[in-house]
């Protein structure tokens, strides 16, 4: 049933989305019924909750991060859910009559239902992360509702501003909740509420508190985030009444109350929360007096009242908490009814401008009476609910103990805000319903009967609470306050008459002072001349513009479209990351003695360094660079040979041959000489980066080489004969131990070949002098002859290397390269036409066959109920060749062989072909 409660509004929203033809009535009924059904569930749950039980229902969601779909209903959650659904039902009825025929009702009510569900989620969530999810959902649905009239500029701007402010606050709240979760070790509300001591004594308490408060203050429009609320008044009035007075803006103070046991009670809490609340209370009240828009006046009044509630929670005494809860209820009733009244006035007169209204009482006496009663509640006049909670508030400001000046400032400023609130209430009533008749665009009259019903219900509630508080509201208040405090309630009693005391005197001063203030302002016409709009909007827009400007500048600086620049950033960053561990390096440079270097090693060092430097110095003369590169490659091959890696030496030697051919072929289509680079500074800068990279690499490699490291090698060395059936451990690693990796690698190789094919297929490249001869290139007869002699020999060597590869240097990679080089020699010597006529040159097919062979060998293991690529090792004795190893790995190596050889040929043959096509021109 708890899940049904939260699901109902979302189900209504979904239903409306799926019902394209739903009109005003159907849409309103759908959402209204969802709200009523929710209320019914709340009433069913009421006995248990009033009996002090906490209802819980859990469903797993994302356990890994501690997010659980946990519904938890205690007194405070129940009370707030009741408020959300109760006001929601009234708003639906009101909105049914408020919406104009041209407004899409389906969309409006779907958004409203979405918001209702999100708000319910906040109240009922028993997991702080779940609460965040719903919190963000209220920000989004609020954005959609404020921007409902999306054609109006102020609706779009207001919606964006509200989203930016409350969404930004939501991020802060998320961070705060994460910190709380870190402190407590759980996001479970039960645990968090029980860990108040732990949280307050933790070193991260202040960051957590500040972050949570940022979220709550942004949502509840507290100074200095208050400016978004007046601009949210661009929303349709039902939205203003529901979201921006009764419920959503209360989410912030709801959270303050919800986390009260966990966070409150410290000096930091008291200072921050009470100071922010106090300044918001005063600022909102003053600004509300000087508004010309009915809804603007109510918006600033809402800000002021939210400040009052925040101040109460900030004061922190149990009695102040009770007063805060009480004022949440009272404010919701009178402010929602006032907003609806303002909406009726707007609806029936066509304007909300106080300067154009006046004398409406004659035209709409019933609405007028309702609005007057609600305004009296707002002003805190006796016999209405606003009076009771305001009285409690004033008593608390007097009971507050702090530094003498602050202790004095709180009640004084509270009275000042009270004076202002009486003044703006008086202004609201007087300049709308009395005084000279205004000039509204439409002739005013009473609204449809049903549109007034919600206002009537709420105003009757204001009166009932105000006159008979113990009968009507005492139990609800005790329930809610009990849920907030999570403990015993303080001693208090609700009454209209507490005898002559200070709070009463303060109320009297507020009333008299407020009326006097309004009288002065009105007589002089000051209130009408001054329009106190918040500077927050200008600041906000300035900040947004500055941010966009900054982002554009950063983008322009970084995103130059110059690849060199990007690479420079990348390398600089790598250098930074690589250098950072050296800053405070405690480890010794080496932990084992270095080996002596023989003359061979010194010679190879000289060869490689000389080659590399030649490439670098002579890079502009490209032919020289390619030859020098060959020297480096040769040096590296010899290093491999020297340092016990015959397989690597062979591979490197062969690859260097192919690479050299490749680079030389490429030079046919590229300038032979690099143009000089004009920027001297850039070259020095690049040189510095290069030297730094070289030195860093040297240091790292030296440190790696001079310390022992663990290795899995001994396992492989011990088992390569028995399990993989080969003496060449390198080859068995490639085709057996790491066969799956090798399959991936030959696939990459094959893909590279095919991509090259795709890039060059049917492309003509323009050859550049001096390497391009005109017409078909002449072929050297001597080379041709040699190549033809070498070919059979090379094929035999290739086959031999392949067959023995499992036990001696060789194998698929090396054999494939040998065969490829032999054929490339044919291409060079005799031309590609000559070769293609004599060979199946569809290299793509060869590549495919190779991949298939390798994969099929791997799959073959399934037939013997082994995992993919498990090898088996029968030995076969062939005449003449001797015993050879026919491991299944051989099939795999055949695949490697085919892919390497065919892809190599494909790459070079394609380059050869583009020149042929060009020559034909």
């Amino acid at each position: 049933m708890l899940f049904a409660l939260i699901a109902l509004p979302f189900a209504a929203a979904l239903a409306l989305m799926l019902a394209p033809r739903a009109g005003r009535n159907l849409s309103a009924w759908t959402v209204g019924l969802a709200a009523l059904a929710g209320l019914a569930i709340l009433f069913v749950l009421a006995p248990a909750v009033f009996g002090g039980e906490v209802l819980r229902a859990r469903a797993p969601w994302i356990e890994a991060i501690g997010l659980e779909f946990f519904i938890r209903i205690d007194g405070w959650a129940w009370l707030f859910a009741f408020l959300v659904l109760g006001i929601g039902a009234l708003i639906v009825l009101y909105a049914r009559w408020y919406l104009a025929p041209e407004d899409p009702p389906r969309r409006f009510f779907a958004y409203l239902a979405l918001f209702m569900g999100a708000m319910l989620g906040i109240t009922l969530a028993g997991n702080l992360l779940l609460l965040i999810v719903f919190w963000e959902l209220t920000s989004i649905s609020s954005f959609l509702l404020i921007g409902f009239w999306g054609r109006r500029h102020e609706a779009r701007a207001g919606a964006r501003m509200a989203l930016a402010v409350t969404g930004g606050g939501g991020l802060a709240l998320l961070a705060g909740v994460l910190v709380i979760g870190h402190i407590v070790g759980s996001y479970d509300l039960d645990l968090v509420l029980a860990s108040g001591e732990l949280i307050r004594s933790h070193p991260l308490y202040v960051p957590a508190l500040v972050l949570v408060l940022l979220g709550a203050f942004a949502k509840s429009a507290q100074f200095p985030f208050h400016f978004w609320l007046p601009h949210a008044m661009a929303a349709p009035t039902p939205v203003s009444a529901y979201l921006h007075s009764a419920t959503m803006v209360k989410a912030g103070v709801f959270l303050l109350a919800r986390l009260h046991p966990a966070l409150a009670g410290s000096t930091e809490w008291l200072l921050i929360v009470s100071a922010i609340g106090l300044s918001t209370l005063v600022l909102g009240a003053v600004a509300a007096v000087f508004q010309q828009d009915l809804k603007g006046l109510l918006a600033y009044s809402t800000i002021s009242h939210l400040g009052l509630i925040t101040l109460l929670f900030g004061l922190g005494s149990p009695l102040a908490v009770v007063a805060g809860v009480f004022h949440i209820l009272n404010h919701a009733t009178f402010k929602a009814s006032l907003f609806m009244a303002a909406g009726i006035i707007d609806h029936e007169t066509g304007t909300r401008d106080l300067r154009r209204l006046g004398g409406l009482y004659a035209a709409m006496p019933i609405t007028g009476t309702l609005a007057i009663v609600a305004s009296l509640a707002m002003a805190g006049v006796p016999l209405l609910n606003g009076f009771l909670s305001k009285e409690m508030f004033l008593a608390e400001t007097l009971a507050f103990e702090s530094w003498p000046s602050y202790q004095l400032a709180v009640p004084v400023l509270a009275v000042f805000a009270g004076i202002c609130s009486v003044a703006y209430s008086a202004r609201f009533v007087h300049e709308t319903f009395f005084g000279p008749k205004g000039h509204p665009p439409k002739t005013p009259h009473e609204p449809p009967r049903l549109m007034r019903v919600p206002v009537e219900i709420l105003v009757v509630l204001c009166l009932a609470v105000g006159i008979l508080p113990n009968l009507v509201v005492a139990d609800l208040l005790a329930l809610g306050a009990g849920g907030v405090l999570q403990g015993p309630l303080p001693d208090y009693h609700l009454a209209i008459w507490h005898g002559f005391n200070w709070p009463l005197a303060m109320s009297a001063i507020s009333l008299a002072g407020g009326l006097a203030l309004y009288a002065i302002l009105h007589r002089r016409g000051i209130a009408r001349r001054i329009d106190l709009l918040s500077r927050g909007k200008i600041a906000f827009e300035g900040i947004v513009a500055a941010l966009i400007g900054l982002a554009q500048r950063v983008t322009r600086t970084l995103e130059t479209g110059r690849i060199q620049g990007y690479l420079l950033w990348l390398l600089a960053f790598i250098l930074l990351v690589g250098a950072s561990p050296f800053v405070d390096l405690a480890a010794p440079l080496s932990t084992k003695p270095a080996q002596p270097a023989g003359p061979m090693a010194v010679g190879l060092w000289l060869l490689i360094v000389a080659g590399a430097l030649t490439v670098t110095v002579a890079y502009r003369r490209r032919l020289v660079a390619v030859i020098a590169m060959g020297i480096v490659g040769l040096g590296v091959s010899l290093v491999f040979a020297l340092l016990s890696a015959p397989d690597l030496a062979l591979t490197q030697l062969l690859v260097d041959m192919v690479t050299t051919v490749l680079l030389l072929m490429a030079l046919r289509y590229l300038p032979a000489i690099s143009p000089p680079e004009p920027e001297r500074l850039a070259r020095w800068r690049d040189g510095a980066i290069a030297v730094a990279a070289g030195l860093g690499t040297t240091a790292i490699v030296y440190m790696v080489l001079t310390r022992p490291h663990p290795s899995i090698a001994e396992y492989i060395l011990a088992t390569t004969m028995s399990e993989a059936g080969g003496a060449n451990a390198v080859n068995t690693v490639i085709v057996d131990y790491r066969g799956f990796d090798t399959l991936g690698e030959i696939t990459v190789f094959a893909i590279a070949g095919i991509v090259i094919y795709a890039l060059l297929d049917r492309v003509r490249l323009t050859a550049l002098t001096p390497f391009a001869a005109k017409g078909p290139a002449p072929h050297s007869l001597l080379l041709n002859l040699c190549a033809q002699l070498i070919l059979p020999l090379a094929v035999a060597v290739s086959a031999y290397l392949f067959l023995r590869g499992h036990n001696a240097p060789g194998g698929g990679f090396i054999a494939g390269l040998v065969l490829a080089i032999a054929l490339i020699l044919q291409y060079i010597a005799a031309g590609s036409e000559w070769v293609d006529e004599r060979l199946d040159h569809d290299w793509n097919r060869w590549i495919g066959a190779g991949l298939l062979a390798a994969a099929a060998t791997g799959i073959g293991a399934f037939a013997f109920a082994h995992p993919f690529l498990t090898s088996s090792t029968p030995h076969v004795h062939l005449p003449l060749v001797g015993e050879i190893h026919l491991a299944s790995a051989m099939g795999f190596d055949t695949g490697v062989y085919l892919v390497v050889f065919a892809a190599c040929l494909l790459m070079l043959a394609m380059l050869g072909k583009v020149s042929r096509w060009e020559a034909r021109d």
């Binding site: 890079y619 980066i689 040297t698 451990a729 690693v733």
Partner: protein, 115 residues
């Protein structure tokens, strides 16, 4: 010997980085080729430096690291050599196409003077 090895790799990396920062595609390819030499050699040397101990199992020698080089880095580098060749080839072809299509062998496909 360790210092020789490390410094040779350092020189290769420095030359490679400098060439990679040049403006012409071919020079960048030269740099990348040098870089792959450096990286392959470094990866290979992680297995240790030893003379005359190829990882080919011979009878009578106990299969331990005292008698043989570590075969794992060698296997890794063997495939890496072949793959770096494939990457070089791919880059060469991309460079050729870029020059053909854009009329410039500048890495930004633009000589800076609009052509």
């Amino acid at each position: 010997m360790e210092l020789l090895a490390a410094s040779a790799i350092g020189v290769l990396v420095a030359c490679a980085v400098w060439l990679m920062l040049r403006a012409r595609t071919f020079d960048v390819i030269l740099g990348l080729t040098l870089l792959s030499y450096a990286v392959n050699t470094m990866l290979f040397m992680v297995g240790g430096l030893a003379l005359g101990k190829p990882p080919l199992i011979r009878e009578g020698l106990s299969p331990t690291l005292a008698n043989y080089m570590d075969p794992v880095p060698q296997a890794l580098v063997l495939t890496a050599i072949v793959i770096s060749f494939a990457m070089t080839a791919l880059l060469v072809v991309v460079a050729l196409r870029s020059r053909e299509d854009n009329g410039s062998d500048h890495v930004d496909a633009d000589d800076g003077d609009g052509r």
